[in-house]
């Protein structure tokens, strides 16, 4: 029966639910989305056999199953918010906190929420994307034991069987069965009920069960089931948050006995609880705006929304190397590469026009530049190091289809088809597989990629950026001319630039950066006819000359000063990038 005096508690839970949803959907939606795409779940026997035969295997399986729902950010956020609210309710019931400590029932849920809001660049690392869901579900199950014990503990067979069941759940729940046992032990100690019995089972579960199940049954390391509960994330910070969330449950359970003595005034304790939760969520959340922009740009790049990618980049005051890479691809796909590339201050962007494959494993960049083999390679290398994921399998499937490797593509499509949420994607890929290259006509983005594919072979020994790729070919498809010319400019390869100029220019549409570069090339000893070819006007010529004259006023050791002084006037010109670009180590020396 719903009791009226509990109305404020339910209202508080409703507010927590709403706030969690808002935070997850509106502020950390990109993270939630990425956690889906970096995850993997399949319904086949192979996957089941790989996940289940380990202590805590069922929990992991369930966590990864639920992780699929994050594909729909709103439903995902709702699910997480609901589960977190359930945790707070479970704490209230299972830990029997008195009303004056009610605010503290949210503390574990807030810490668990921080597992989502606190994920920063670890999202690019090897990470079990369902680690937070596993912890949440595991906590709920542990609290369920505590709740049943609170509610039906008077019944002797219930109090006798609960610790036993909790212990036997070790192969399914791993460390969370010990958490359940800990909560039962605390409750029983408090009520002085079956203390020796529960302690005995707890000790057996703590020492013997990990050996029995981890080592004997599953052939794993001793206590792997316990350790993997708190260390599935690849980041120490996230693991600490996870440990705090898990340990807060027995601590809160223990606090029940002190409510009257320590927390005399309900108001103080409630405020302390809320304050602690706010401090926890604020201090643990990751707030770097560049990181969110990168995630957003990555998502938009994978859905070919180039204008939106550019809008994301434009919003950021300074570009990171990654964000610049997305910007370059988006510019190339909107036909603005040559007109817009140097219109931003790129002097702080590191060496490459696009990152090489080892920086971010961004297969999408190589894919959209038309380097299908390289995109495949980057996907596989990322998979080897960081784990398999939906986004990599999808990319491998598309690459195989564009490369004409239908059977290979079907292998990957079969993997994707084992999650129900990707049915649209699977249908599209299956249509492509059955229709072959004719399907490209219906998909302009993939068509663009196909037209950019190299027409000759080239070998790469080590890692290289997309711009370097463009420079290594003798012949290029026409769709890549603009890319090639901009790569020349990015690399400051004036010799290649003057060589490529004739074939890559469209008369009457010569971009400003090319005109400026022609002047610089001529100043560096190239045939002055390049300026005529590039349709250089007097204004451009004067501007470039003025820039270099202005530059001469600075001494060798005043490089930074010159860069800052000249930015306002020349920051959006190629000559400024030519001298001050972050990759210009040679000129810096001069």
């Amino acid at each position: 029966m719903f009791k009226l005096r509990e109305l404020p508690c339910w209202m508080a839970r409703a507010i927590f639910f709403a706030l969690s949803f808002i935070l997850l959907y509106f502020c950390y939606g990109e993270v939630v989305n990425r956690l889906f795409w970096n995850g993997y779940f399949a319904t086949n026997e192979l996957y089941r056999d790989a996940v289940l035969p380990h202590a805590g295997g069922l929990l992991r399986y369930v966590g990864q199953f639920l992780n699929q729902l994050l594909y729909y950010p709103a439903w995902g956020a709702l699910l997480i918010a609901a589960l977190l609210t359930l945790v707070s309710y479970g704490v209230a019931c299972g830990c029997s906190l008195k009303r004056n400590l009610f605010a503290f029932t949210f503390l574990p849920a807030v810490l668990l929420l921080a597992l989502y809001t606190g994920v920063g660049y670890q999202i690019y690392m090897r990470i079990d994307t369902s680690f937070a869901l596993q912890t949440i579900v595991g906590s709920i199950v542990a609290l369920l034991f505590a709740c049943v014990n609170e509610r039906f503990g008077q019944c002797r067979w219930v109090s006798l069987s609960l610790p036993l069941i909790a212990a036997l759940c070790y192969p399914l729940l791993g460390g969370f069965s010990l958490l359940a046992l800990t909560l039962l032990l605390i409750t029983n100690c408090y009520s002085k009920r079956l203390v020796f019995y529960t302690s005995g089972i707890f000790l057996v579960a703590l020492i013997l069960l990990p050996y029995l199940f981890d080592v004997v049954c599953f052939g794993d390391d001793y206590a792997k089931g316990i350790i993997s509960t708190v260390l599935p994330a690849s980041s120490m910070k996230m693991s600490m948050v996870q440990i705090s969330a898990i340990f807060s449950l027995p601590i809160l359970s223990y606090l029940r006995r002190y409510d009257e003595r320590v927390w005399k005034k309900a108001g103080v304790s409630q405020i302390a609880g809320v304050a602690l939760s706010l401090v926890a969520i604020f201090s643990l959340s990751y707030k770097n705006s560049l990181y969110f922009s990168e995630l957003k740009a990555s998502r938009l790049t994978e859905s070919y929304q180039w204008e939106k990618v550019l809008a994301v980049c434009d919003k950021e005051e300074s570009l990171s190397r990654t964000l610049n890479a997305y910007r370059v691809i988006a510019l190339a796909n909107t036909g603005k590469l040559s007109t817009q590339l140097f219109k931003r201050d790129l002097t702080f962007v590191a060496t490459d026009m696009t990152p090489n494959e080892h920086v971010l494993f961004e297969d999408a960049l190589f894919f959209n530049a038309g380097f299908i083999n390289s995109s495949t390679r980057v996907s596989i290398e990322a998979w080897q190091r960081l784990g398999i994921s939906y986004r990599r399998i999808r990319n491998l499937a598309i690459c195989a289809l564009i490369n004409g490797e239908k059977q290979l593509a079907l292998r990957y499509i079969n993997q994707l088809s084992q999650t129900s949420v990707l049915s649209d994607c699977v249908d599209e890929l299956n249509r492509f597989a059955s229709e072959g290259n004719a399907y490209l006509q219906k998909h302009p983005h993939w068509m663009t990629v196909a037209t950019r594919m190299p027409v000759e072979n080239a070998l790469f020994v080590g890692s290289a950026s997309v711009s370097r790729y463009f420079l290594c070919f003798n012949a290029l498809p026409q769709a890549c001319f603009e890319f090639r010319l901009m790569s020349d400019l990015w690399e400051r390869n004036m010799k290649a630039f003057t060589f490529d100029l004739g074939s890559c220019l469209t008369p009457g549409k010569v971009p400003a950066c090319v005109k400026e570069a022609s002047v610089i090339a001529a100043m560096n000893g190239a045939n002055p006819s390049v300026m005529k070819l590039a349709e250089v006007d007097d204004v451009t010529r004067t501007n470039v000359k003025n820039f270099f004259m202005a530059l001469q006023r600075y001494r060798k050791d005043q490089f930074e000063k010159a860069r800052n002084d000249l930015r306002s006037r020349y920051g959006k010109s190629y000559c400024y990038f030519y001298v001050f670009g972050a990759n210009n180590n040679q000129l810096k020396e001069k």
Binding site: E381, L408, N457
Partner: protein, 512 residues
């Protein structure tokens, strides 16, 4: 424990199948049912594990009957996915009773009504296949690697186990990561269980198990420019021939092979296990020798040979190999003169991976257009050489056009060959077996069987460097980790001349 548990579960699942019977009425359809793996009309050894398969068409029910000439039969019902799994015990006794028989396999599939598809045959040979196959599991790989494992598959009961893995050597988020490469598991062919594999990297070396004891050896000693790479156990002596390869990997931007392995330099060495000593077999500057393989009597070492060394990567398509052999005197441990056996390089082809048969009558090898990494080349074909007549031919019975296939070894009785092939999709290496008759002709290859029929369809790793083995490898993952933690990597002794400069005063080699 898990095995017992899973068998109990299977038993429970199969209980309803006890009453399996053929449909009373079934329409005859003149079509062959599509099954995966394609086990239609194959020759199989009597000791092989159940050939479980998946019926790849829509079905509401499926019954499979395997019947022998004498009328004895097994009836199995497929599950909802169309997976047909034969009970191990029943299969084994059936196969033993019908070794040297031709079995007929009938598929009854129910869509709306029951249909009887064209039957196919399984010819059972009494010549048994080696019970174990070992290989490395890896993603169709490039330069990087993640979790790698060396695995042994029991070909008689569809079980598998990990020999060694590097998964636990990754210690994220901790800074020390020892997850180095694992490769080339190889076992001596005398049933002794002596075996080796490599664990590369800073703390790694040659992991050798000899007479039941394991140790790690640094097999790059003296002036060797690279560590030992491709191994070849002497058939009965405590000797291992290795190639040493200065390997360069490149990545074609638009070539379907996606990666190209090129040896900048390669030679061969012999490791004497009991003396713990390495000596050169061949040490040439402008020639390449690689992929050593002993003849069954141990009197010859076969290898791939090329005189087109020192080519740069830009002209790697001119790098071509021929097959050669060198005689070996086991008494004096001395080598004869190398003898080139083929002239593929002259014909703008490249021959690799020689695999002489145990009786010495035949030799299988791989031929591709260029290079020493034919396993990535779609044009890689299997050739068979008649060693008595010196003639060779394309083994079209086992070769798939436009797919990379090559032979990885012979069973000990010389009747079964192991083929590594990427014919499924051009990327994922899969294992096949084929029967070789007395005339050197082969049967249609059949794929490595698994308990889960669609295993190879859904498994996203390649079977790399598969090899037959006679006994279950001794090494286990925990022993391997223990070995890494407790033993020091000992350099082998070096017997040979040093090419690098020696300091005149101290006699020490000059380190550059």
């Amino acid at each position: 424990m898990m095995k017992i548990l899973s068998r109990v579960i299977w038993l429970l699942l199969l209980l309803p199948a006890c009453g399996t019977s053929l449909p009373k009425e079934a329409e005859e359809v003149d079509v062959e049912a599509q099954i995966y793996p394609d086990y239609r009309n194959v020759v199989i050894p009597a000791n092989v594990a159940p050939l479980n398969f998946r019926v790849e068409q829509p079905l509401n029910g499926c019954v499979v009957r395997v019947s022998a000439r004498n009328g004895e039969e097994i009836l199995v019902e497929a599950d909802g996915k169309g997976d047909v799994r034969f009970p191990l015990k029943k299969w084994k006794s059936f196969m033993v009773n019908h070794a040297d028989d031709s079995l007929s396999v009938d598929l009854y599939v129910k869509d709306k009504s029951w249909m009887h598809y064209n039957s196919f045959s399984w010819v059972v040979k009494p010549d048994s296949i080696d019970p174990i196959m070992t290989c490395r599991l890896i993603e169709p790989s490039y330069r990087g690697h993640g979790a790698l494992s060396l695995v042994s598959y029991n070909l008689e009961d569809n079980t598998s186990r990990v020999i060694a893995e590097n998964e636990k050597l990754r210690h994220e988020p901790f800074p020390v990561n020892r997850q180095s490469c694992l490769n080339c598991h190889s076992q001596q062919r005398n049933g002794s269980g002596n075996s080796l594999f490599f664990y590369r990297g800073e703390h790694g070396g040659l992991v050798l198990t000899y007479n039941g004891k394991s140790r790690i050896i640094n097999s790059r000693v003296g002036d060797m420019y690279a560590s030992t790479t491709y191994p070849a156990w002497h058939p009965y002596l405590p000797l291992i021939a290795f190639s040493i390869n200065a390997v360069g990997q490149t990545y074609p931007v638009s070539d379907p092979s996606k990666t190209e392995v090129i040896d900048d330099r390669s030679d061969m060495v012999l490791y004497d296990i009991e003396k713990d000593e390495i000596s050169y077999i061949t040490k040439t500057k402008n020639r390449l020798e690689t992929f050593p393989c002993w003849s069954a009597d141990g009197k010859f070492l076969y290898f791939a040979y090329s005189d087109s060394a020192a080519l740069t990567t830009s002209v790697y398509q001119r790098l071509r190999y021929d097959l050669a052999r060198i005689s070996f005197d086991a008494d004096s441990l001395s080598w004869g003169e190398p003898q080139v056996l083929t002239d593929f390089a002259k014909r703008a082809l490249s021959a690799n991976y020689p695999q002489p048969s145990p009786d010495g009558r035949f030799m299988l090898f791989a031929v591709s257009k260029y290079g020493c990494s034919p396993y990535r080349h779609a044009d890689c074909d299997i050739y068979v050489m008649d060693m008595e007549q010196g003639t060779y031919r394309l083994a079209h019975e086992v070769d798939t056009p436009n797919a990379s296939d090559y032979c990885r070894g012979w069973s000990r009785n010389g009747h079964w060959i192991l083929i590594s092939s990427r014919k499924d999709d051009g990327n994922y290496g899969r294992v096949y077996f084929s029967y070789c008759d007395e005339t050197g002709h082969f049967s249609k290859p059949f794929q490595l069987p698994h308990e889960y029929p669609a295993h190879d369809l859904e498994f996203l790793k390649s079977y790399n460097a598969p090899e037959f083995a006679q006994v279950e490898p001794i090494m286990t993952p925990s022993e391997f980790y223990h070995l890494l933690d407790t033993s020091h990597v000992q350099p082998a002794n070096y017997r040979g001349t040093m090419d690098i400069p020696v300091d005149a005063n101290s006699g020490a080699s000059v380190i550059r």
